[in-house]
């Protein structure tokens, strides 16, 4: 098992390198002169040129990239063009907030999605099945930033029950988490339903029934364990969407996370912060996928055997 994990960790390195390369290359194409940006419009050209050389902006692309990677590995992502503060610590301060938000959102999504999916599958074509499927369809179709604003309108503005910005108490978490988690909940519901329907058709379910196993146990023990395998994949992928979606949700709710930092950085053309934020999110996502792969091996003994 340990061999499996270390092997996957090793495979992560080229992926992360690739990610840094792609994102760095994209940001490299940003027009404009960072040195000019830092010093301001009225700065004398000599000062700008000197700063450029200091920052290494005139070096060839590969050198700049290499420098970036070497520094990044040591935790140095440079300084923000706008706030002049260390980018890494800025991100690090906000990162737990984003993680918390995404974590609660995914927990909500699973807590709702899987049970509803199971009920839908076992009562196929019933009223509750149709209702859930329509609700799931709506959930998947709503833009999350719009949902957030509507929730604010309803619960904050009109009813005054819940706060609409900041992150001070657990109450502040509710609306953002619901906003972020809704489309994931919908997707997980649909996936659970189809996975269960698929599994229930399998021969070994018929064997279980022929043994006299109660229908409840057939569903919850025999079917569910097998159905979980593709569901886990989807949950892992959803985490990626959540990290992306957090950008919008954090903006709507003024949630102090990396997403909002990213949006601000883009507005101000603060390339180091944009670069670091995207790399951070991608790295997190990769680790989550690694976790999912390990979880796989636990749930599916066929995969476990491959790595023993």
């Amino acid at each position: 098992m340990l061999k499996y994990i270390s092997k996957r960790l090793l495979m992560l390195i080229p992926v992360l390198l690739g990610v840094t390369f792609i994102v760095f290359s994209i940001m490299y194409m940003t027009p404009g002169d960072p040195a000019q940006l830092i010093l301001g419009e009225s700065a004398p050209p000599e000062a700008v040129a000197e700063l450029r050389t200091d920052m290494g902006l005139d070096d060839p692309f590969i050198v700049q990239y290499g420098r970036f990677v070497v520094n990044a590995v040591q935790g140095d992502f440079g300084q923000s063009y706008t706030t002049k503060r260390d980018v890494f610590s800025e991100i690090f301060a906000r990162f737990p907030n984003t993680l918390k938000l995404a974590g609660v959102a995914v927990a909500l999504a699973i807590a709702i999605g899987i049970p509803v999916g199971i009920i839908s599958a076992t009562r196929q074509y019933s009223f509750i099945d149709s209702a859930s499927m329509i609700a799931a369809l709506l959930g998947v179709s709503m833009p999350n930033f719009w949902l957030g604003l509507m929730l604010i309108l309803f619960f904050s503005v009109n009813l005054g029950w819940l706060p609409s910005s900041g992150a001070d108490s657990w109450k502040h978490m509710i609306l953002p988490a619901v906003t972020l988690g809704t489309s994931s909940a919908a997707i997980i519901t649909r996936m659970t339903r189809s996975s269960m329907l698929e599994v229930v058709r399998q021969d070994f379910i018929r064997t279980a029934r022929a043994k006299g196993v109660s229908e409840k146990k057939v569903i919850n023990k025999h079917a569910l364990k097998n159905a979980l395998i593709p569901i886990i994949t989807v949950v892992g992928l959803q985490f990626g969407y959540l990290l992306g979606g957090a950008v919008l949700t954090e903006t709507v709710f003024s949630w102090p996370g990396v997403g909002r930092l990213l949006v601000e950085a883009i507005r101000q053309k603060d390339t180091p912060t944009v670069l670091a934020s995207v790399v951070f999110m991608a790295t997190t996502f990769s680790f989550v996928n690694l976790l999912v792969d390990v979880l796989y091996a636990y749930v599916d003994p066929r995969i476990k055997s491959q790595y023993q």
Binding site: I22, Y28, T30, L137, P143, R206, V278, A282, F285
Partner: protein
């Protein structure tokens, strides 16, 4: 006398096909799709939206109605003159929504088109030639997939500048990996079948084999993914415009309209609500159609 029977299946329903196989396949798909009421509803709604997009100028003139500010009539609620009210600059919301349909559809279709072209080619090549080329291409796709697609699009737009073309490019590029995977999977499932060997034996070259045999078989899953992909692209467009990374004002785009109304949520919530509903209905319709297509094209139902 083989006898693999599954207990639940009523047997004896497989009749030998007498009609021309290809023609009846698509007709069969259409017939199945027609039976799906939700999919048909989705199709109708999309039809209406396409109509709005094409005839936007006829419904509401761009310069005078959609863009021109009228500060005396700011943030009015729905009325006879303005069916859905006016926005923070006094512009008719309905007119802007209709024009917004054009923008959304444009970006959606072209972004997905780019993704299919690039992703499909990569996937086809990877699946067909296999080996090292396959490995390299798929590793590259893995790297792209490690970055949540909206973040990738944001990065591209923030680097290249927010305009319509860059938006289409960004969303298109960030969608490439999923089409690469789908096409590659299709190719792999067919590549080793015997009729391909037969084609080669009569002298067909690789290009011909790929275009004539492999791509038609990959069509079904690509069509489903494309339908859902357009939905995703429209969502991404709206999201990017919402944070200012998309179509620039005063161009009417649903997400941007939402963003504009945000600070007036308390007393003029209609500015935010209506464009959001437009987005939702569009995505809903596309999802219903996509689901219907997936069911209609399900290979397991083809006996």
């Amino acid at each position: 006398m083989s006898s693999v029977t599954s207990a639940a299946k009523p047997v004896g329903l497989d009749k030998p096909k007498t009609k021309s196989k290809k023609r009846s396949q698509w007709a069969e798909v259409w017939r199945r799709l027609k039976q799906n009421k939700m999919a048909m509803l989705g199709l109708m709604i999309i039809g209406v939206i396409i109509f709005c997009a094409i005839f936007a100028d006829v419904i509401a003139d761009y310069d005078t109605v959609a863009i021109k500010q009228n500060l005396k009539a700011r943030m009015e609620g729905p009325s006879a003159e303005h069916i859905l009210g006016t926005d923070e600059f006094g512009r008719d919301i309905f007119a802007r929504m209709v024009h917004g349909a054009r923008v959304s559809l444009q970006v959606g279709l072209i972004a997905v088109g780019i993704a299919i072209l690039i992703g499909g080619s990569l996937g086809a090549v990877a699946g067909y030639y296999g080996g090292k080329l396959d490995n390299v291409i798929m590793r590259l796709m893995d790297v792209f997939l490690a970055i949540p697609s909206i973040l990738l699009a944001i990065a591209i737009v923030s680097a290249l500048g927010p305009n319509l073309f860059n938006l289409m490019l960004a969303i298109g590029v960030s969608s490439v990996p999923s089409y690469a995977r789908i096409v590659r999977a299709s190719v792999l499932s067919i590549r080793d079948q015997e009729f391909i060997e037969a084609a080669r034996a009569i002298g067909a070259d690789d290009f011909r084999i790929i275009t004539k045999h492999i791509i038609p078989n990959a069509l079904a899953p690509v069509i489903v993914q494309a339908t859902l992909g357009v939905a995703g692209a429209i969502l991404s467009t709206a999201g990017l415009s919402f944070i200012g990374m998309g179509i620039q004002p005063p161009a009417p785009e649903w997400g941007a309209m939402l963003s504009g109304g945000r600070q007036y949520l308390r007393y003029a919530w209609h500015i935010t609500a209506f464009p959001g509903v437009a987005i939702m209905i569009t995505i809903l319709a596309l999802n219903m159609l996509g689901d219907g297509l997936r069911d209609a094209l399900d290979p397991r139902l083809k006996s």
